[in-house]
Amino acid sequence: MSAPMIEITDLTAGYKGVPVLRGITLTIQAGEFTGVLGPNGSGKTTLIRALSGVLKTDSGTIRIAGRDISEMSAKTRARHCATVAQNNPGLSGVRALSLVLMGRYPYVSFLGGYSRQDHACVHEAMTETSCLHLGHRRAEALSGGELQRVITAKALAQDTSLLLLDEAASNLDVARTMDLYELLKAKNASGLTVLTVAHDLNLAAIYCQRLVFLKNGSVAADGPTREIFTSQTLSEIYETPLAVAEHPITGAPQAYLVPRA
């Protein structure tokens, strides 16, 4: 059997010596579509940063496709794992097409240029995220939703087997959010392993096969969505009463806020 896509062992990581993640152990198999949920400050973003290799871990190991990421070069890491970050910095002047092309950086040699294949990949990624028509526009002239699609295209252009997303839908309206999740579902069906941090419990419950709940830097609950998405678990984790009922069409569990009597 091949190595799991992600293998986190006893991971502790944080900022300036203050641990945010405390002893996380988690294994994600290739082909899974996993949602990472949890209250504010539970360490979701920190987990994504550690997984993408930009945050130094204090102890523990992270393996991606069987290899310790701290022993990979930045380029090798970027060929295995792409990340759609939460905040996009004040980009200006860059054209959307150039932005997506940056996703091909791990494949160009130091002296070489972007090849025809790189451009083909970019074209495909921009088609999938329906932002091909935005190619010549500059970043500052894009709306929040358009920019998000361009950034997603950049990550897809990286042509990795693992995609990490951190609240990628936070700037999107309902239709765009659905577009994004449908795209993720389709990519997942064709083999992409997806790990996404989400705020929207119900959206995650519809699309993710597996949910990992973080709380205070530890895994509070982990399992198949239909088993773990229960009123009791959610109420405990979020410290507020939540009721769960079936989605009238898909049958997925959905949470409802319950006013405190």
């Binding site: 930009v54 090798t76 890491r77 970027a78 060929r79 940056m102 500059r138």
Partner: protein
């Protein structure tokens, strides 16, 4: 724009304090290429005017390229070798070389000392703005001012400790091309070439770093290595410029902004066009500096660049405030 370079060089040959008729200048230019006997006009046109034109062009190109890199790398529109205090660092290194008489061992110690000074100032400024948390526009420029002021005092100290070298230091630091010749072109060229090569090789990384360090790392850029390479390259360009011309402000600040307005933000064309634009700008600033006063007197070219650069700096500051 590329055609503007030879045109500018040619046209600038007609300006100078010593009056020469246009025919004599054209004859001298022909003589340069055909290797005829040395005439007074030939010597003036070649050794005085042409050498100075080349040197001012190269200096402007080096300053503008390094300014473009600093602005992109630090994501700060106010960054340039002058505002960051890196020019002062290079000047301080060179003043040290002059003051301690290292230049007796050869003029080539000058750019080396300037390079050392530039790197020291760069480390100081970056460390200071790191202390205050970020590379935000004000904190960096503030750091630059502190370093410039401190180093200015240091240069004054060197001057007062060594009376004999005062004239040499003052003359050199003012920001002028007066009395410089082909040997100075040879002096700066290797450093300029190396710095230029380094930043052009790292132009793609520079583009991606505009995403921020974290996202740049996530697409596979070795951020630390790329940053250091770019800083070293830009520092070499600054040192090359300062070691032959002293401190000339604003060229590195203004030119990349103008180029961005015209051709956009992509680093490689930005660097190349900044080089052309900076070269032409400083070339004509120097023509102005050496012809605007009568009786053969000269303005330091740094005065000319500051006169048009100062208002431009304010403009950028105001625009940033609104944004």
């Amino acid at each position: 724009m590329a055609a503007a370079v030879p045109l500018s060089v040619y046209a600038a040959l007609f300006f100078g304090s010593y009056p020469l008729p246009a025919d004599a200048i054209n004859d001298a230019i022909r003589a340069m290429f055909s290797g005829q006997a040395e005439t007074q006009a030939l010597v003036i046109v070649r050794d005085i005017r042409l050498s100075r034109i080349l040197l001012s062009f190269l200096t402007g190109a080096a300053l503008a390229m390094s300014g473009g890199v600093f602005q992109g790398l630090l994501r700060n529109p106010l960054a340039d070798p002058f505002t960051l205090g890196i020019s002062s660092g290079a000047a301080c290194g060179a003043a040290l070389a002059l003051g301690l008489g290292w230049t007796a061992a050869g003029l080539s110690t000058l750019p080396l000392a300037a390079l050392g000074g530039a790197f020291a100032a760069m480390i100081l400024v970056l460390a200071m703005s790191r202390l205050t948390g970020d590379f935000s526009r004000e904190s960096l420029v503030l750091g630059g001012i502190v370093v410039s002021t401190f180093l200015g005092a240091f240069i004054a100290l060197i001057k007062s400790l060594n009376e004999e070298s005062v004239a040499a230091i003052v003359f050199w630091i003012m920001g002028s091309f007066q009395g410089r010749g082909f040997e100075h072109v040879g002096l700066m060229l290797p450093y300029m070439a190396a710095g230029c090569l380094l930043i052009l090789l790292l132009a793609r990384e520079l583009d991606i770093l505009s995403l921020g360090t974290e996202q740049a790392a996530q697409v596979g850029v070795s951020v630390g290595r790329a940053r250091i390479g770019l800083l070293v390259g830009a520092g070499m360009l600054t040192a090359a410029a300062v070691s032959v011309s002293g401190i000339i402000g604003f060229v590195g600040l203004v030119v990349p902004h103008l180029v961005r307005m015209l051709i956009g933000h992509e680093s490689r064309p930005l660097i190349l066009f900044s080089a052309l634009g900076g070269g032409i700008l400083l070339l004509w600033s120097d023509v102005l500096a050496r012809t605007i006063l009568s009786h053969g007197a000269e303005l330091p070219v740094g005065v000319v660049t500051a006169l048009f650069g100062g208002p431009f700096f304010c403009l950028i500051l105001a625009r940033g405030r609104r944004a």
